[in-house]
C-alpha cells in the first residue's frame, strides 16, 4: 500500500507538472496577445499563481521544504504587482477620461 502510494504521488506530480506547463503556455499566450492592458495584468496574476504551484510541486517532489518560503514571498510579490498594475490601468483610464470626458465607461459593447 505504501509503495503504491509513493508511486501514485510520483505520477501525480508528473501529471501536475505537465498540466501546469500547458497552463503556463496558455497564460503566456494571453500575456502576449491580450487586447487590453488589463488582460495582460490578469495573465501576470495567473503566472504568479502558477509559479506558486510550481514551487509547491518542486518542494514536494524533492522534499526540500525551504522553497515554501519562496512560494509565500512570490504570493506577496504577485499580489503587490497585481495591485500596482491595477492602479496603473486605473490611472491611465482616469487620465484618458480627463482628456476626453465625452466617452462613458458603459457605451461600448
Amino acid at each position: 500500500m505504501a509503495e503504491f502510494g509513493a508511486h501514485f504521488l510520483d505520477l501525480a506530480i508528473l501529471f501536475a507538472y505537465g498540466a501546469m506547463i500547458v497552463s503556463f503556455a496558455l497564460s503566456v499566450y494571453r500575456l502576449l496577445k491580450g487586447p487590453s492592458p488589463a488582460d495582460r495584468v490578469v495573465a501576470l496574476d495567473m503566472l504568479a499563481l502558477l509559479g506558486i504551484g510550481f514551487i509547491g510541486l518542486f518542494s514536494i517532489s524533492t522534499g526540500e521544504y525551504a522553497f515554501l518560503d519562496v512560494a509565500i514571498a512570490l504570493a506577496l510579490v504577485g499580489f503587490l504587482a497585481t495591485v500596482a498594475f491595477a492602479r496603473y490601468v486605473y490611472r491611465g483610464a482616469l487620465a484618458e477620461r480627463r482628456e476626453s470626458p465625452a466617452t462613458e465607461a458603459g457605451d461600448e459593447s
Binding site: A16, I60, L68, A86
Partner: protein, 140 residues
C-alpha cells in the same frame, strides 16, 4: 496512505490550474477571463499548498503552508476586485453576448465615484453631466 491523499489533492489542484489556463485562453472578454484566472487559479495553487501541508511530516512546514494558503485566499479577491474595476473604468470591451451591465452610466464622468452611493452628492468634485444620454437612460 498520506501519499495517496497528497497525490489526489495534487491531481485536483493540477486539473484546476489547467482549467484556469484553458479558461484564460478561450473565454471571450476580460471580465469572464477573470473568473477563470482568479477562482480556478487560486484554487489550483491553494490545493498544492494543501498537499504540502498534508505531505510534510513537520508542524512548521504545515503551518507555513497553511499561512500561505490563507494569504492567497485573502488577497485574491482584493486583487480581482481592483483589476475588474480598473478594467471597467478603462473601457475594456465586453463580450457581444453580455446581456446585463448594471454599472452602465453609473460612474460619474471622473470615474471616481458611483452615482447613487451615499457620498456621491457631497460635492467633492464634479458630478456627471446630466444631459448626456448615458446616465439618464438607466433607472436608478
Amino acid at each position: 496512505m498520506i501519499d495517496l491523499i497528497g497525490g489526489i489533492v495534487i491531481l485536483v489542484g493540477a486539473i484546476f490550474s489547467l482549467v484556469a489556463g484553458i479558461g484564460l485562453f478561450r473565454l471571450p472578454d476580460i471580465y469572464v477571463r477573470m473568473h477563470a484566472a482568479t477562482k480556478a487559479g487560486t484554487l489550483g495553487a491553494g490545493l498544492i499548498l494543501i498537499a504540502i501541508a498534508i505531505d510534510a511530516h513537520d508542524l512548521g512546514v504545515t503551518a507555513r503552508a497553511v499561512a500561505g494558503l490563507l494569504f492567497l485566499l485573502l488577497t485574491a479577491p482584493v486583487a480581482a476586485h481592483l483589476l475588474g474595476r480598473a478594467a471597467y473604468l478603462s473601457g475594456a470591451k465586453q463580450w457581444s453576448q453580455t446581456c446585463l451591465d448594471e454599472l452602465e452610466g453609473k460612474y460619474d464622468a471622473d470615474g471616481r465615484r458611483l452615482d447613487g452611493t451615499p457620498d456621491a452628492d457631497l460635492g467633492r468634485g464634479p458630478i456627471a453631466d446630466k444631459d448626456e444620454p448615458g446616465p439618464t437612460t438607466s433607472p436608478r
